[in-house]
């Protein structure tokens, strides 16, 4: 059996800050990858640290305590994959991080937001271009500062936090029954990915096991979301390079998929579909028989337009060797999900931590080798194809009518539970921690965008400013998912 996509740990004994840093360094040196790493303030100025690590054995957790006076020596220089986590811990808990090279705020306001001291370059013919927070399209806000020599970008500094609405605190303040609706809006285009990770954490903590068929319905929801959002991204890239048939046709195909989601759950974005204890909407036998015909037609049209895209010389000329992220850089920065796979990393939690749905019906791992915009576009075309084939198989599984939701009973005291779900952007991670009375005292949500934004900044180095739109679209990151 592969390791499960969740972890539960009760009454963890925290390491002192020195031992914690030592243990974390040792595990990362041995090849483990940090999935998440966060801090929570306890009483008396103690900061509780939690690091979730992954190696071939599955998930493991490290728990430590640090105090504000002593601080915590930063490991970012040695392990750049930790840079955003250490910045976030510093911001959320105030814990000093001596040795961190760049404790830039993640999402807290620098008052006023525009007064932030960006990196600057000096020299003849050097200039800066500032874009945002409001952009030219119908899109979320974020600020981009390009440091350029002529058209060439030396570095891009990204300033986020404009969408910060305090969602983690709200989940703790509100009744647990209200949490799924909040979680669905962490990143509204990843409602299923986030809600499934949340359900996994909460169900693992409460000791609730849903039937295999419920897990398959959840995976059907997740793959529909993946196909729809990959199509959105492809349509965006196509439009940005003036490949208009791709823009309109992929856009139209997306409509087919999100309307399928609506037929199944009442929402084009999968809202209200997944809930702790099961799913609110199953798939009756007649519907399950009908959808594969729609998907078959979809597949034919998808292949037709993708073939046009992939054989067009002007498309290839525009997308090859633009915004390249090497495998080494992707690994070093801790990039995740489709961006990492486009840079040839084997990183898909549906394969590493398949859970029951993807154990019963495995999802073949897709990847590309070149790490450029072309690779990220090609990967998405490839993943759409794989997901549709998978959906055809999943819909043939009998008994997808969902049973009623199972009740989530009282939660155990002093327990940490973490759920992982490979959403369309990458691994989505939710962590819950209860206090001595079994009430939630900490909630951490992590969208894959949090880690991948810096990858976008690095991808643009040495490229032209005019390459930014297609780089941005090919990374397709969430502002609100990062800003929380």
């Amino acid at each position: 059996m592969p390791p499960p996509p969740y972890l539960v740990a009760s009454s963890l004994t925290p390491l002192s800050h020195g031992a914690f840093v030592h243990a974390l360094r040792e595990r990362l040196d041995a090849g483990a990858r940090a999935l998440t790493y966060f801090g929570a303030p306890l009483a008396d100025g103690v900061i509780e640290l939690t690091a979730l690590l992954q190696d071939d054995q599955g998930l493991a957790v490290l728990r430590g305590h640090a105090t504000g006076d002593a601080g915590l020596p930063a490991l970012t220089v040695q392990f750049p994959q930790l840079h955003i986590f250490e910045r976030e811990i510093h911001e959320q808990t105030g814990l000093p991080m001596p040795g961190h090279p760049w404790l830039k705020p993640v999402r807290s306001p620098v008052a006023p937001m525009g007064a932030y001291p960006f990196f600057q370059m000096a020299g003849k013919e050097v200039h800066e271009v500032a874009v945002g927070p409001i952009h030219a399209g119908v899109i979320e806000p974020g600020h981009f500062r390009f440091m350029c020599l002529g058209e060439q970008v030396h570095h891009l500094e990204i300033q986020l936090g404009f969408q910060h609405r305090g969602i983690e605190a709200l989940v703790l303040q509100r009744p647990l029954a209200h949490a799924p609706a909040l979680v669905e809006t962490i990143a509204g285009d990843t409602s299923i990915g986030h809600t499934w990770a949340f359900c996994r954490a909460l169900e693992a903590m409460a000791g609730v096991t849903v039937p295999d068929e419920v897990e398959i319905v959840r995976a059907i929801a997740l793959e529909l979301e993946r196909v729809a959002m990959h199509l959105t991204g492809l349509s965006g890239i196509a439009t940005d390079i003036g490949f208009l048939q791709g823009g309109t046709t992929w856009g139209r195909l997306r409509t087919t998929i999100i309307n399928l989601s609506m037929q199944l759950c009442g929402s084009r974005f999968g809202r209200g579909w997944l809930r702790p204890g099961g799913v609110r909407f199953g798939i009756d036998a007649e519907t399950a028989r009908r959808i594969p015909d729609v998907l078959a037609q979809f597949q034919r049209d998808m292949r037709t337009v993708s073939a046009l895209f992939e054989t067009s010389l002007s498309v290839a000329g525009r997308l090859h060797e633009v915004g390249t992220v090497t495998a080494e850089t992707a690994r070093e920065l801790g990039l995740v999900g489709m961006v990492a796979r486009a840079s040839s990393l084997d990183l898909d939690q549906r394969v590493a931590l398949p859970g029951r749905a993807y154990t019963r019906l495995p999802m073949p791992h897709a990847k590309q080798l070149t790490g450029d915009v072309w690779a990220r576009a090609g990967l998405r075309i490839d993943e759409i194809g794989r997901s549709v084939v998978w959906l055809q198989q999943a819909l043939a599984v009998p008994g997808l009518d969902a049973p009623p939701l199972q009740a989530i009973g009282p939660l155990p005291p002093d327990t940490l539970a973490i759920g992982v779900c490979e959403g369309w952007r990458g691994e989505t991670i939710h962590a819950l921690q209860t206090d001595a009375n079994g009430n939630l005292r900490h909630f951490k949500a992590q969208d894959p965008s949090l880690r991948n934004w810096f990858g976008l900044a690095v991808a643009l180095r040495g490229n032209d400013i005019s390459d930014f739109p297609i780089c941005n679209k090919s990374f397709d990151l969430s502002y609100c998912g990062s800003d929380l």
Binding site: R107, P109, P112, M113, G114, P133, I134, A136, G137, V138, I139, E140, P141, G161, F162, Q163, H164, R165, G166, I167, A169, L170, Q173, R174, A177, H178, P180, A181, L182, E184, T185, I186, A187, G188, D189, S191, Q245, T248, T249, G251, R252, T255, N259, M262, Q263, L264, C265, G266, S267, R268, F269, R271, R275, R280, T304, V305, L308, T311, S478, C480
Partner: protein
């Protein structure tokens, strides 16, 4: 060339001919309150609602401006009096028109504004600002211009610069970190200009109404001319609201 033709043929005809009568299948668009009595002292629906959309109980009154269509209320009602309909004629001109009950099951029809019709009825340019939106609303706003809904056919389009815009479409609850940029953007719109609230967050703060990171003074000072409810609203909800208000292609 042949490949290109094949794609064009596969595309067929996608646009929805009559936007007003289109009804999205199984869309959980609007709560429907059955006219039956509540169980004594029951407040199961209100407790289940994450946005306090049940503003009165027995008789039940729902604020569509807060409702996020999650449907978490329906299964907990012991009288089974809550269901959902695929309605997308739910936009309203007045905030209070979004209150519905068993006796007033939907917002009143929107009357044509002759002033707005004269100014914008044949050409309307909109600037979208997401201020804490989760990309649900933004996705549906983008869809308004796609090959299916194609609102461009009536001269309604989203533009890049606020200088080119007649109206500002707000999505999201308006975060403190976006408040200043939102104001700057609106200030750049030439007059006459207006604000339109798209989605539960923009209308009422939605799920985030109580969050200290929200700062909604802009919406107090600039009252929207149209409220488009939902989480996210269906593109047709905006389309119908705008077409009715501007008197476009009246039946």
């Amino acid at each position: 060339m042949l490949r290109s033709l094949r794609v064009r043929i596969s595309q067929g005809r996608q646009y929805i001919g009559d936007l007003r009568t289109a009804a999205p299948a199984n869309f959980r668009g609007m709560p429907v309150i059955a006219d039956v009595a509540c169980a004594p002292a029951c407040r199961a629906c209100a407790d289940a609602c994450p946005t306090h959309a049940f503003v009165a109980l027995d008789p039940v009154q729902i604020d569509l401006g807060r409702c996020i269509q999650c449907g978490d209320c329906a299964p907990v009602c012991p009288e089974k009096k809550l269901t959902f309909a695929n309605a997308c004629h739910t936009a309203a001109v007045l905030r209070e028109d979004l209150l519905i009950s068993a006796h007033r099951p939907a917002p009143p029809p929107i009357a044509v504004s002759t002033a707005l019709q004269k100014q914008f009825g044949r050409s309307l340019r909109l600037r979208s600002v997401s201020a804490g939106g989760c990309n649900g609303c933004e996705s549906e706003l983008n869809a308004v211009g796609n090959v299916n809904f194609d609102l461009g056919r009536y001269g309604i389009e989203f533009v890049a610069s606020p200088r080119h815009a007649d109206g500002l479409v707000i999505s999201g609850p308006v975060t403190r970190n976006m408040a200043e940029s939102l104001q700057l953007c609106f200030d750049a719109l030439p007059r006459p200009r207006f604000v339109l609230a798209f989605g539960a967050c923009a209308i009422s703060g939605g799920l985030f109404a109580e969050a200290p990171q929200i700062e909604r003074q802009f919406l107090d000072a600039n009252v929207p001319i149209l409220y488009v409810p939902g989480c996210p609203p269906h593109p047709l909800t905006l389309v119908n609201g705008l077409m009715d208000l501007l008197g476009i292609a009246l039946p």
